[in-house]
Symmetry: C2
Subunit: 201 residues, 2 copies
């Protein structure tokens, strides 16, 4: 499909860098934007410009935050001695959504992935290790994805944390999802749910 304007094509190319957006969707977005009123368009561009320019990160947990220390890290209701290590902001939001967690977070900003050019220094691992020492953290919960990269990152972090012999390092439970049928579960998950079984009462 040939786009009849270079300017439109540039906008389509830009929009199709968004994750999961193909040329056709990008074209639909661009033509929608073209039809917007000037004021709405300016607001759209303004919000996206501000996103990069004005966003701040919490100096403790590295989650996105409008204040120097985020509301979770500065809350007296949260247990500051338990730190859940996650890859990105999405996971913080997902865990917060459950309403089940009373500790705080540490956002790594990714996982170790040499193929994608993500090294140890691109992540906030050193900050985590320092934080555990400085704040007397009692438990670190590893909640990274179960991929090779996630596992590598878990192992690396665990090794760095060995310097604190009192520290408890845990990982979130993997098992059969509530409501899922055992028959269709993958063997690795089912196997792990058997090995890591919990007392019934």
């Amino acid at each position: 499909m040939e786009i009849p304007s270079k300017i439109l094509e540039n906008a389509v190319d830009a929009l199709s860098t968004l994750p999961g957006v193909g040329k056709r969707s990008a074209l639909r977005y661009a033509l929608h934007l073209l039809k917007e009123q000037d004021g709405d368009y300016a607001a759209f561009i303004g919000a996206l410009t501000s996103l990069k320019r004005d966003s701040h990160y919490c100096s403790r947990c590295h989650c996105i935050s409008d204040t120097p220390v985020c509301p979770i890290c500065s809350s007296a209701k949260r247990n500051q001695k338990i730190v859940c290590v996650v890859e990105n902001i999405q996971e913080v939001m997902a865990i917060e959504n459950t309403g089940q967690y009373q500790g705080v977070y540490h956002v790594l900003g990714g996982v170790i992935s040499p193929l994608d050019g993500v090294g140890i220094n691109d992540l906030t691992i050193a900050q985590l290790v320092r934080r555990v020492g400085d704040e007397g953290v009692e438990e670190v919960i590893l909640a990274l994805p179960t991929t090779m990269e996630g596992d590598t990152t878990n192992i690396y972090i665990d090794r760095q944390l060995r310097q604190y012999p009192e520290l408890k390092v845990t990982t979130i439970a993997r098992g059969i999802a509530i409501g899922d049928n055992l028959e269709y579960a993958d063997e690795v998950t089912l196997g792990r749910s058997i090995v890591n079984r919990v007392p019934f009462r």
Copy 2:
């Protein structure tokens, strides 16, 4: 799902105005943009800013164009006496993609839709009627969507064009798509494909 930053939330709200984009996708886009390098981010914003600021429309067919008159309207190879009336730029691209059409276009910019606040003066109908007279157009092909709004617009345009008794007004053939099974075709389409049958040889 609560977003931990007002700035991020504004960006998510802006992105979710795009057609078919929900909050979750918008969040995914926003977090992807946040991770972009500064240069890539500036290019993204630049392309979208330029889209509205620098886009021009062909003065004859009202299709988006980087030149005052678009390549199709200024091509000596195209039959300038046959004008295909379409709703938007997407339809121009779709018809061009077939390689079957040698005439030119007229982009209305929408269809008459009082509920959406789109009236006759928001569309380029007056320009079409003038163009037909000025350029001695011989055939107008109506290729608007088969919705109530599209039909209304067809009828309105046809009435305006009655002032040119020599002008041929046609509409694109509706019928069973190539490869489709008659059994599963909707009755209106199948009915119309019987009524509008064409000579086999």
